[in-house]
Symmetry: D2
Subunit: 300 residues, 4 copies
């Protein structure tokens, strides 16, 4: 049989551009996705959506994977249920989400009937729009839930406004892209992640919980240590807690930091919901145990 | 010394998103670029621009690399100088470029003082805009050259209009993304690459040259064989010529097909320009020599 | 200035072959290492050692990353300290490691002064040799520790021999490459991971602990569910425990399964060592908390 | 339907290790092969053999792809037929191949009945062994061809011996891995590629042709310019010719340099063989036409 020399062109299949997309995790280390870029834009933020056989869909903002449709529930459940269950049952009524335009955190918070109001303040109007089109599973169970309000604005501006209006919250969730925090400096690249911003949050959330996601410290240690420094500057040290969750698509464990005025937040205080896929009371407690090398990095 | 366990986050450098971008060339075979995506959009066409240490900038449309700033000159010189020099000196006065919104082909054609008019008809208004911003080196030496006209329209529509106006050309260049041509069928995915379109071109270019780029047949054989079949259906077989050029970023040799009514096009007939970087009269002649496996695939 | 067209060849730097090495984690999903292959062989097992800027050195056997020099301690500490601390203080005296030719598990076990004997039985003589050359940090603190014995042999054969000799152990660690366990079948590809083998282990470890690593269930669920099925067949169900650890280079959490006759293994029973980098008593307890989707997959 | 969270492990398929193997072509630019490493060793040379859906099998020595089973014929035909056909018919009787342990060049030379003796001198005994096992198509049509002799030895040593024996050749082919030649220095990393070695070759091939492969100058300019400098130092300038061939798996055109005492080597002088797949007399002539930027780099 005669061997073929030339080959026909690969067939175009499906939507978007088939590529190998390699996301940098650390120096010379990447997560590689053989996938299709089904959405791309380089506007206010660089946004790319990939369609992938294993992960489902992936949303990248700027340099970083935000979530995949396969495992986003881990991140969002850890971000939301741990603070809510750290408070006495029924305490959390008003929730402010800074960032979080993907609805995932709101979806989790709205699972509690005692929650009366959830406000998302996200600067980029594209994210909610794209989630509605490409990630409908992140929307609240009732997409028309009257308790939910979406504001397209810089959270800094809105927080100032609430400060003037003397509006307060029981839970503030900072669910943003990873901040750009230097190792040795307290100056932050972005206004939202500074001492200044937290000083304001403290005022509009005087008796509640303020939680912030802090990336994966194994590959971005300075984000956790930087935010921890800020928390210590603004909040009483004995009210600061760090916990973690393994979001498979993030690789190593993700860190979260929480200002919580309630004692022993590692013991959940509410009623366990049945409609979670990651979170349980057992997981709640275990989340606060930190590897020795985390504690050393944090000088705990 | 204590070994470091955690690592700080990678610093953001420069514009855009640092990724490993792997372009599929054939099954399980990719060209990989460690680079920044500095422009992305998923509109009329999927357009991505990468910034790369070795290649400079790269423009991708849909699945395919269009050109890099380092070696685009090879492609554009082969596409333009070979047909122009195949005609008697001074013959080529009016040039129509179907596609070619990147200006590269126009830039080469305008190097001939005898060329009086170059019309680019490209359906996508984004390409000229992006080239002006990201690839200014593709613009004509005199960007205000009065001989150049850019029309944003489907070439099919414009050709019909010229047909009615009885406007004719001496050279038509089809400088488009790779057509989607099946191996066994004469039906073409895109109107521009069919017998029908060429039948019209033949009428508005009755005594001139019609050249079309045909991809890299080693990895997309069916494009060359498909376009060749169409040429044979529309043009006299003895006026059809195939030539090639090695554009380094394309990998294997790129094919071009030309309907040329002038005898012995392999011998250049004009005056050799000095402002080329790839093309010479020697190269002109050599371009027409095809590897044996090409001739076998084409049944030549 | 004239733009450079050609480029000089890349300089050879350092030892080995600079490549992008992409390890498949799941379908179309890879961990990519820009690194040097400093050792390669395709003998009894396919063994590759990479040198990498972030991870240090990485050892691959067959399809899978075994460990990196940066974070192997997490895996080895979880594999060893959790079982040892689950037993009453001083109980673990004789340790058998099936596989584990990399010395990492032995290094951890030998940290306990009460441990009197550690036997490694690894079929591949290359692994200890390569670890001595490329990963000396995995060797025991005292490389000449008289308590350690290395046997190059199939563990199945040695276990049979111990069975006849009526030699017993207090702790058996199965520290091997991931077994090849089908989802629906109880037949195992490799003799070491079957009911048969565990039935023998049970006899030579009648009152002790038997621990086995089970890969990362998020991307290889069947290994954990398969080994769990075998444990349930061989050991009393109430003595079976599953725990997890996040080894950053493995991506998602790694699973471990343990037959432990001592009650409440989640509460450590010994004296906390100071020379660990991951393990603490807090971590010990938290390791037994499983995400809800793990429990569902295991029907717990 | 309940969405799957965990996934079973990927099935092991076929031989070897499935990886994404990215070969560096230039800075931040790679050719990526999704393939299996079916052979690896890090001995005298780093040798890797990949099995690939499109390319068939690929042999890598040290940093560089040597050939693929799909397109090696282009390289070997260009390397051998162009020099042989540059000499008067029947002139080439005794051929020495320095390197070339893969048999590919020998296979081509042995196609000429007038060739009486082909000696391969390759330092690495592994290459012929591996080619026999993994690339049998590179062996001569008659693998027991009595005209062929394989010597496992440093070519430098053997050339010295021939010099003393006053043995001469009509054609010497240097078919080696890319030499390590600095841009600004005339000192060569490897004895085989120096003025000294060529001075000896000149003596054992006083009236014949000496051809050497020179890599792909677009991405490794210094190899061609370096070898050209050596040729000019050793051989009469008017007997030096450069030619090229597009080997698809190499990306850009490969360069060859030839010392040829016969006039007008671009015009083939022998009888055209029918059993080639790349080479024709037309290709022969065209191979000597160099792009303008090559000539500028070579100051031609």
């Amino acid at each position: 049989m005669k061997k073929e020399i030339m080959s026909p062109a690969m067939k175009t299949e499906g939507k978007g551009v088939k590529v190998f997309y390699g996301e940098y995790v650390n120096e010379d280390y990447l997560f590689g996705y053989i996938s299709r870029i089904i959405y791309g834009e380089s506007g206010l933020q660089n946004i790319y959506i990939l369609e992938h056989k294993f992960w489902g869909r992936l949303l990248f903002i700027n340099n970083n994977l935000q979530f995949t449709s396969r495992d986003e529930f881990v991140y969002h459940e850890a971000l939301v249920h741990i603070p809510i269950q750290s408070a006495p049952e029924g305490f959390i009524k008003r929730v402010l989400i800074c960032g979080g335009g993907d609805f995932g955190a709101a979806r989790e918070a709205l699972k509690y009937p005692s929650v009366q109001e959830v406000i998302i303040v996200d600067i980029d109007p594209k994210i909610p729009k794209l989630v509605r089109e490409y990630f409908p599973e992140l929307l609240p169970e009732d997409p028309e839930d009257k308790r939910l309000k979406l504001i397209t604005e810089d959270a800094y501006v809105i927080v100032n406004q609430y400060l003037q209006e003397e509006k307060t919250f029981d839970l503030i969730i900072i669910d943003s892209t990873d901040p750009d925090i230097g190792e040795t400096t307290q100056e932050l690249s972005h206004a939202l992640f500074g001492v200044d911003f937290h000083a304001k949050l403290k005022k509009i959330c005087p008796t509640g919980i303020i939680v912030q996601q802090c990336g994966t410290p194994f590959t971005m240690k300075n984000i956790l240590t930087g935010v921890y420094r800020i928390y210590k500057e603004v909040y009483p040290e004995e009210e600061i807690y760090i916990y973690r969750a393994n979001v498979p698509s993030f690789g190593s464990d993700n860190a979260f930091i929480m200002k919580c005025p309630f004692k022993n937040p590692q013991f959940p205080k509410g009623i366990e919901l049945s409609n979670t896929r990651y979170y349980t009371f057992e997981i709640h407690q275990a989340s606060f145990a930190l590897p020795k090398f985390w504690k050393e990095a944090l000088e705990l």
